[in-house]
């Protein structure tokens, strides 16, 4: 199993999807074992590929530029050749590891969480399709396959968000998610086609090479990059496209963990990472990226502070994290972004799965109805705490190292650095808040608290594994760890070979950020444990700010108003125009005119024989005259 055989990876879960869709109802256990088996196979194959990768790296060292393998898909001879192919390099490897591992964890977890669901088989089918598409997305060596997979993960996300289809809110959220990201995809597609128009190829490496060789005009390149970013922003829920992600929490929680935390939403980050050389060629490109990231980070941190739905809080933290990755990419530190992506996948999936356990046990997801679950669900509590503190950025957890990496890369950019620092205590505060409100204090809803219990091993084992990874995965930033794992040059070198990057731990930054995080945690502890009256009092004081945050800066309302008032009005006007102007006037009009002309002309039918005879004779005379004049 070498890297060039990696095309097998997406085919496994794709086959599982086909099998489950066609045979699902007839299989024992609705075929969940096929789906889990497929992702298990993918995981094993991924490990083999990683081994092959380390071998290649050991042999070729820095000269290793990835392995490609492609087949022809369709061809218009002499004009167009579309190929489907894979490209495996370091970035791919990281993504593969994340997708296959988190995918496996989530699928196992779902065995417990989704048990008894009325569309259990369908759930597993779609999630298999999702994994297949996601693998194809990260393996793609060309824009066509990338877009192909990009859309497919979008539709899987749509289907899974809307899984509880009897809920109007779930249906609406699914629709919103798909349409919002689709708007970004319009940009992506245009960008892909523009780049093809200039270079004649869809191959990502070739496009980048052509751009670096200056074969693409500046205007086209700028337009392409901006449009490309639109696509990435849509998928990665960056401002102003971020509105869909919190709503997407209507889906089953394992889905939130897999799609809306660990994998699909980072597709945008992945795309930007891949296209970073292109973006950096454009004046203002990195700055745009940075601005988007910072804005997103700031907005999400504030909004997360006031949300009461446990999943929504985590969703805002996800947006926050994605924003951070964009920030890192904006300052040209893809390695930092990838490290963050890598570790984030584990602790965010852990958080969601933990939240899922809570929801599964209590059937409540509003923190105002939870509380005191620590004793009832110790495993969930501990693992959730690890995840939350990692997200907050407490030292020596995965999140700390990754965040620190980004902060170090920001050192040259004071404004961004300060802005990110400001959000640190906010993040720490709301993560601590959700932890406290869920697991500590008095149960606010005794009835559900009564029934709460730890889930089956299917659910707890993935939690424990993910928690373990959250504890240790951050240490890959150290070159020594990387070397110990078989990579020659440490994690920075793995992630971005042509921009070898060695991790430097900046003690001052580390201590500073830790202090800020501690401040946030302490504030949260003070507000929600020590002095529970504080939130209420400060709420009274800061009512307008709270409302602004709780209403998500009124962006959702604005969008809704634009859709209802503007878009649909235009649609109705066009429909009215079509019916009344085009059809009733343009088409029926001539028909009525014909009828009226007929009405007018019928009066020549006098019914009197001599009139008709006269008409005939006049006709004959006229024809004769015509004949004469022609003869003359």
């Amino acid at each position: 199993m070498g890297m060039s055989d990696a095309w097998l990876l997406p085919l496994l879960p794709a086959a599982a999807f086909v099998a489950l869709t066609l045979l699902g109802p007839y299989l024992p256990r609705r075929g969940d074992w096929i789906a889990v088996g497929a992702i298990g196979g993918v995981f094993v194959l991924t490990l083999l590929i990683i081994a092959d990768f380390t071998d290649a790296l050991a042999v070729q060292g820095e000269a290793f530029a990835g392995v490609a393998n492609s087949i022809q898909w369709l061809e218009v001879p002499g004009h167009l050749e579309l190929r489907l192919g894979i490209h495996v390099d370091a970035v791919t490897i990281v993504m593969l590891a994340v997708v296959s591992f988190v995918g496996l964890m989530v699928q196992v977890y779902s065995l417990g969480y989704m048990k008894g669901d009325s569309r259990y088989g369908w759930y597993y089918a779609v999630i298999s399709l999702f994994i297949a598409s996601m693998l194809a997305l990260v393996l793609a060596d060309n824009f066509l396959l990338l877009y192909f997979a990009w859309e497919l993960v979008g539709i899987c996300s749509y289907l899974l968000i809307g899984h509880y289809s009897h809920l109007r809110s779930a249906t609406e959220a699914a629709k919103k998610a798909f349409i919002t990201t689709r708007l970004g995809d319009v940009g992506l597609l245009i960008a892909i086609i523009l780049l093809w128009r200039e270079t004649g190829t869809f191959n990502i490496q070739e496009v980048i090479a052509a751009a670096e060789a200056g074969q693409i005009g500046t205007e086209i390149l700028t337009a392409s990059v901006v449009l490309l970013l639109l696509g990435a922003m849509g998928k990665s829920a960056q401002f102003p496209f971020h509105v869909w992600l919190p709503d997407a929490m209507e889906g089953p929680t394992p889905v939130s963990a897999l799609i809306h935390a660990a994998t699909m939403v980072v597709a945008g980050v992945y795309l930007v990472t891949r296209m970073l050389p292109l973006i950096e060629l454009v004046a203002g490109g990195p700055e745009l990226l940075l601005a988007i990231g910072l804005l997103t980070v700031f907005l999400s941190a504030t909004m997360g502070l006031v949300m009461t739905d446990i999943k929504r809080v985590i969703a805002y933290s996800t947006i926050n994290s994605l924003g951070l990755m964009f920030v890192a990419l904006g300052v040209g530190a893809p390695a930092a972004a990838m490290v963050y992506l890598f570790t984030h996948a584990f602790f965010k999936a852990l958080l969601f799965l933990g939240a899922g356990s809570v929801i599964h046990a209590t059937e409540r997801q509003d923190v105002s109805q939870l509380g005191g679950l620590w004793s009832k669900m110790p495993i969930t509590g501990v693992t959730f705490a690890i995840g939350a503190l990692s997200m907050a950025g407490l030292p020596f957890l995965a999140g700390f190292w990754a965040k620190d990496e980004i902060l170090v890369s920001l050192l040259d950019n004071r404004a961004a650095f300060v802005l990110v620092l400001v959000t640190l205590p906010l993040t720490a505060m709301y993560m601590t808040r959700v932890l406290i409100l869920t697991f500590f204090g008095e149960p606010r809803d005794p009835e559900s608290h009564e029934h709460a219990h730890e889930g089956s091993p299917f659910m707890t084992v993935p939690l424990i594994l993910l928690a373990a990874l959250t504890l240790v995965s951050g240490f890959v930033v150290f070159d020594q760890v990387g070397k110990a794992m078989g990579f020659p040059g440490g994690i920075g070198e793995i992630i971005f070979l042509e921009r070898a990057h060695s991790f430097e731990f900046d003690v001052a930054v580390g201590i500073g950020s830790t202090l800020l995080v501690a401040l946030g945690i302490a504030t949260a502890w003070f507000a929600w444990v020590a002095r529970p009256s504080v939130p209420a009092r400060s709420l009274a004081l800061l009512r307008p700010v709270h409302d602004l945050w709780a209403n998500k800066y009124y962006l959702d309302d604005l969008y809704q108003a634009v859709i209802d008032r503007v878009v649909l009005s235009i649609a109705r006007v066009v429909a009215w125009f079509d019916r009344n102007a085009v059809n009733d006037t343009g088409v029926d009009g001539p028909a009525y005119a014909t009828r009226y002309a007929g009405y007018l002309m019928k009066f020549q039918q006098t019914g009197k024989l001599p009139n008709y005879a006269l008409g005939m004779v006049i006709g004959v005379v006229t024809l004769a005259l015509v004949a004469f004049s022609l003869k003359a």
Binding site: P610, L614, V617, I618, V620, V621, A624, F628
Partner: protein, 166 residues
């Protein structure tokens, strides 16, 4: 001017005069009588064209039978004694149109090149030849003509018959 020419112009004048009478006479019966005159003149024209048989048929059937039939019809449809206009409202237009048509026809006739003898030599057709042709070469059309007459006769009877209760 030969005798034949003189006779022709005489007959032509009679024919045109009769025709004028047919279309202009204020009394319907006079019009019918003028028609007889015109038809007899046409019979004369046939003789001038060397076709005595046709002239004979013309006199017998047209001037005799058909005109009598028309007179009968006039008699049967006489409505009132109130004098009413015999001419329709569109007569001025009709004058123009028919004169135009006549003019056009005459212009055509005079300007065209016609085959045949320039000195007015005609072929006279004998009864025997015509009879032989009619019953050999033209036998089928002849039979069909008789069928047409027969059908017309039956149709006329059916249409004109008084129905029960009418």
């Amino acid at each position: 001017m030969t005798v034949a020419q003189i006779i022709f112009y005489l007959i032509a004048a009679l024919a045109v005069g009769g025709a004028l009478g047919v279309v202009l006479a204020r009394n319907a019966v006079y019009a019918a009588l003028f028609l007889i005159l015109a038809l007899l003149a046409v019979a004369g024209v046939y003789i001038l064209l060397g076709s005595e048989f046709l002239a004979l048929v013309q006199v017998l059937i047209y001037a005799g039978a058909i005109t009598v039939l028309l007179l009968f019809a006039l008699m049967l449809t006489r409505t009132t004694d109130v004098a009413e206009s015999m001419t329709g409202a569109q007569w001025p237009l009709a004058v123009v149109v028919s004169m135009l048509l006549g003019g056009l026809l005459i212009v055509t006739v005079t300007t065209s090149d016609w085959p045949g003898d320039a000195d007015g030599t005609i072929t006279r057709i004998l009864f025997e030849d015509l009879g032989a042709a009619l019953f050999t070469q033209w036998a089928v059309p002849f039979e069909i003509a008789s069928l047409v007459l027969f059908v017309a006769l039956v149709g006329a009877i059916v249409i004109a018959r008084e129905e029960e209760g009418e």
